[in-house]
Amino acid sequence: MNLRRRMGPGMKMGVSTAMAVLEAFAPYGETDAIITATGLGCIADSEKFLSSMLGLQEQALNPTPFIQSTFNAVGASIALLRGEHGYNNTFSHRETGFECALLDAMLLLDAGEAKAVLVGFFEEATSSVSAILDRMGLTRGKDVGEGAVFLVLTRDCLPCSQAEIRALSFEDEYEDEGIFVSKEMSRYWAGAFAELVHDVLVNAHEGEEQVIVNDLNGQCHSKMCLRCLLQE
């Protein structure tokens, strides 16, 4: 369909990852809320629109990149493709946006406003973003990361549940233990925390508790404790 054909890289990564997660979750239930997070959103579309605006002297522009430059474009596209009328929200708060999305989902579940929430992060890399971050001295020659991580949070423990979130906090102080988001990565890829959560889940051993700390610039921005469960 048209929507899929027009998608930029961030949209494709985000929407396809979300769809795969929803498909895997389908035997266990239906999600009733969608919450996404992103650092720069579909930045390639923003740049495309900006570039044509300057090139065409603000005349006769194609609106598609403008539409897709909105930060909620991925969350909205998932809702549209799935016909999901439920709660739909998007955070864009650099390196802690994903934790805020998790918090929003936990509060919704806690309040009984949702039973299963799709939570995800997406970010796309472009040569312009790399060039700018490089000039700012943030990349030190490394590539700017891109990718998407989606998961489903439920209130009840299901046969497919991989881990339990024991705690999520946004504090200035933390115990010096756990798994840390590397400062360099998280500085320019807002998804470092999401990626780490994914890695912990993939490599988890039953009963193991893991503390994941987002400690940008030596300050604790957020901390999450996961207890891994027996997997099917």
Binding site: L3, N72, A76, H85, G97, D104
Partner: protein, 390 residues
Amino acid sequence: MGIKIIGLGVVSSLGVDVASNMEALKNGKSGIGKKRFVRTRLDFPVGEVKYSNADLHALLGLETQRTVSRTALLGAMAVKEALRMADVPSGVNWGLVSSTSVGGMDLTEHFYREFSLNPKRGRLRYVAGHDCASSTDFIAGYCGIEGFRTTLSTACSSSANAILFASRLLERGVLDYVVAGGTDALCAFTLNGFASLKILDSEPCRPFDRERGGLNLGEGAGYIAMCRDETPGTACACLLSGANANDAFHQTASSANGEGACRAMSLALKRSGLHPEDVDYVNLHGTGTPNNDYSEQAALRRIFGTRIPACSSTKSYTGHALAAAGGMEAVFSVLALREQLCFANLRFENKMDETSLVPQRKTERRLVRHVMSNSFGFGGNCTTLIFGRL
């Protein structure tokens, strides 16, 4: 819900504080007109804040050399005002939940002119504030909000969602005080975006009128400070409930039967424990586009039947300030309760052919017990907030 509102801050084309906005709303004085500051070749009417960036720097007491996006400047003005009224005690567990749809795009546009010709050029300080979180961090730093902060971005429903999320943070005890809302500055990017969608009116907008030709973009910021009912402090109104639903119909257009809007309004009503007849005024999303206004009136009819309460789109005064709209209109909703006023829907003349909906023609004193405020956005994001008296 048990949330009380203890502070209000608003910046719009009507003025840079609550008092000047109130005055204009009372007197039916629109802020829409010719652009003065935004740099663009387009010549559509806009709801531009009547102060240059240099003026805003001076009002905020900032050094003139400091590079700050207009989005962050407008936001800081409104949050500062909300906090002056709220008088949050020091040392409490508080935070800022902000929102924006363009972030620092007003500066990025200038950066990109040079950068696009040569990636080694363009001043980095013009692009450093591009991302959404940057304006939030500036506002929090300027206003001394040291605790939790985050930024939402759900297009034109952003600040309504920020207020909804913030209220949940209070309810579940994550925070004890919170300032929530949104900010957006006019820029060539969004003006061209809406022009490319062919939904800008070349005249001042006429929401819900048969001849309506589209929306006018505006800019500004709107924030409310909130705490739980039991927290000590003087309040001016309360937030009764809110709900977020998705239209799941089209990337930018709303469904003809207003499915998402209807779900948001009906869920918010259910959560507030109110009946439709308890709502005395609806601050409509009412952008002035043929599609939105048709869809919204269809949703209103599904909720209220033939007895639609007094309603108006204050975007006929301010233009559509995108992410800031929900926050500005939350402030206007509280003012409607405080002053017992229903605001005018300016420039309305003729009913649409499809409906008998006639919005409030003049700002009028009425009994206002509860106000419903609608904010809908691209991507089908629909959010409704319901405010009440204390």
